[in-house]
Symmetry: C2
Subunit: 422 residues, 2 copies
Amino acid sequence: MTALTETRRTSADDSLRARAAAVIPGGMYGHMSVHQLPMAAGHPHFTAGYPQFYERGAGARIWDVDGNEYIDFMCAYGPMIAGYANPEIDSAVAAVQRRGDVLTGPMPELVDYAEALVDLIPSADWAMFAKNGTDATSMAVVVARAATGRSRLLKARASYHGSNAWFTPGAAGITAADRADIRYFEYNDLASLEAAIAAADGDVAGIILTPYQHDGYVDQELVDVAFARGVRAAADRIGAALILDEVRTGFRLDITGAWESIGVRPDLTAYSKAIGNGYSIAALVGRDSLRQAASEIFVTGSFWMGGVGFAAGLATLAHLRAVDGVARMTAAGQAFRDGLAQQAAASGYAISQSGPVTMPLVRFVDDPDFALGIAFSNAALNLGVLLHPWHNMFVSAAHSATDIAEALDRTDRAFRELRDPR
Amino acid sequence: MTALTETRRTSADDSLRARAAAVIPGGMYGHMSVHQLPMAAGHPHFTAGYPQFYERGAGARIWDVDGNEYIDFMCAYGPMIAGYANPEIDSAVAAVQRRGDVLTGPMPELVDYAEALVDLIPSADWAMFAKNGTDATSMAVVVARAATGRSRLLKARASYHGSNAWFTPGAAGITAADRADIRYFEYNDLASLEAAIAAADGDVAGIILTPYQHDGYVDQELVDVAFARGVRAAADRIGAALILDEVRTGFRLDITGAWESIGVRPDLTAYSKAIGNGYSIAALVGRDSLRQAASEIFVTGSFWMGGVGFAAGLATLAHLRAVDGVARMTAAGQAFRDGLAQQAAASGYAISQSGPVTMPLVRFVDDPDFALGIAFSNAALNLGVLLHPWHNMFVSAAHSATDIAEALDRTDRAFRELRDPR
């Protein structure tokens, strides 16, 4: 058994970290903040922690700036769904890029992609596009307010819907006015939703929520069907828009809509991350009843109508249809989950694997400070598997049976190292 | 003299418009809304109006979906600064794109670009990146609030700083709370700034403004030097951050900062549009005094750390330095302005050309409904020159002397047609 020590090269990463610390506040911000990297120095076994900088990606693999290779279960925090450097998608995009991207008016691909989404998604009668998931969720709120003439928004307390002033989990720089029109409920708790409606005095423009609960640090929770139907009924009863935030889940659960299988259709759905396989694009789709309101709001961005994002969206959609992406991801995710469960049991660890198998979160039971999770993740990292101890992970259609088998060989060794460190 | 009638093909555009109207609210939103196209049907001479959709761009030229070619003075509303399909920039970007873009962590190019901006811009000690100009102006506001612990923001009444709920010029879907912490002053009017400070009871986190007044529909107004210095002094006196919104002006006035020549340095500067020659990127740069606050806020986006935007930023900066982009744009813009002035006078029209020559706005005097401006712009459009009658235009470093001479030949004909229609 190899000891729990790092064998990875880290010098190039160390050098870039020092340079970044000088010119980037805190060394890096947001979801790629250095503080969000699982563990840093100070651990008895893993002093380097996760690499901060990456050189390239191909398929389900990424290489850090020191040339260390990983089978990647973060998929760029979601955007990669059909493989890094997917040749079909990249060549379709390059063909458009040679003609242009951001021009003085939109390229025809914008219309092609809007038609494709309207054809694909039963709850979509129209589409608008942007560059960030936050743009899409924010546009949804403004459309809901324009349609209803009301102000208040109901959201599940801990759910992430973006990082603008309404939604950021951060406190710094956020004012009371930023949150004045938001009321909170608990996910999967209809009584709390009704209490929030009452607290809003009927002035509810919209209810925003994710297709299932994928908050960090806690087990993921699938939606309760009665809850989803209850939210739909409540929105209809009070005349509010039901906004489904599929930014994280989009195309990883059901490409026609995450709640299609349970028969609950939103009024507005926000997409981003995976829909362009990493190319920057976000979409808001909605029902006819909100089309007029959507045409009245003023939202825009310099790059929002660029053709490259739509080319990427069209090619990603074609690829996922051609390979039956959700089925492929589901098979890969199930194999990974089954393997981890068997390995954990064999090593005597109790783990909790929650959420859809295409978006797994793996926690060690009785591990409140994530010490075990961090040690296991770092052990796996050193063996070439990139996991995350407290954020949901992502499986892609490029994770082949070979990738999963190889990843499981390495996680097996990581569990055994964790059990018997030298 | 040719008659004032359209000779352009429009059938492909007509077809796309009809398709867009079915799947995009209002047919198109934002700055590329069909309602923002100069004129639509109903004019005695120009029933088709401006094309909505474009097929490709190269250098200073764009082609609409019907194959009509234009010398483009809108430059994609600013993002194009070094020519559409610039071969150096596109090949530098493609080399990075082959390695990846959005990965599970940033690529080294993020650090390279942050260092480049900090080296270039005297008021920049650090940088953060995003995907929309609105992201950068919004981040600036949050940083200012985090640094000061205050809420209120002062802005020039008519100035555009993005399309989120704080800033959008739209009214639909915007609530009282969205604007509760904003106080207004008049650009170039220090007394109105002092009145706004007084109205804010000293609770001022930041003052945001553009380097010069480039509001639509009215003549542009260069900054009064005493006003710029007065804003700086007022910000220092009350301990508020001075935020310069260079989203539209960035790299078209002075690549080291629009107010460097007048010796006024902002605390925070927002960039986007042209800094990546059309590739999606935005930047917020700031002074050391705000570094800690910037490290405390939580802002992020799925694509914000993607390497392609930084590769584009680095290549665009290198190109603009290599060709002395501002000098080249200034020469082209001055030649165009001089030519238009001569032509207007020769044709007996009084026109007003305002703002920097690299960002011209051309109005006909005594043309309150823009009827003359629209007719002239449409006449020029039919002759292959894309102008705008009420929005500032943009000159790029790809506008060669030949492009300007050819454009002026055509505008001369447009003035004469306007004067003597058959």
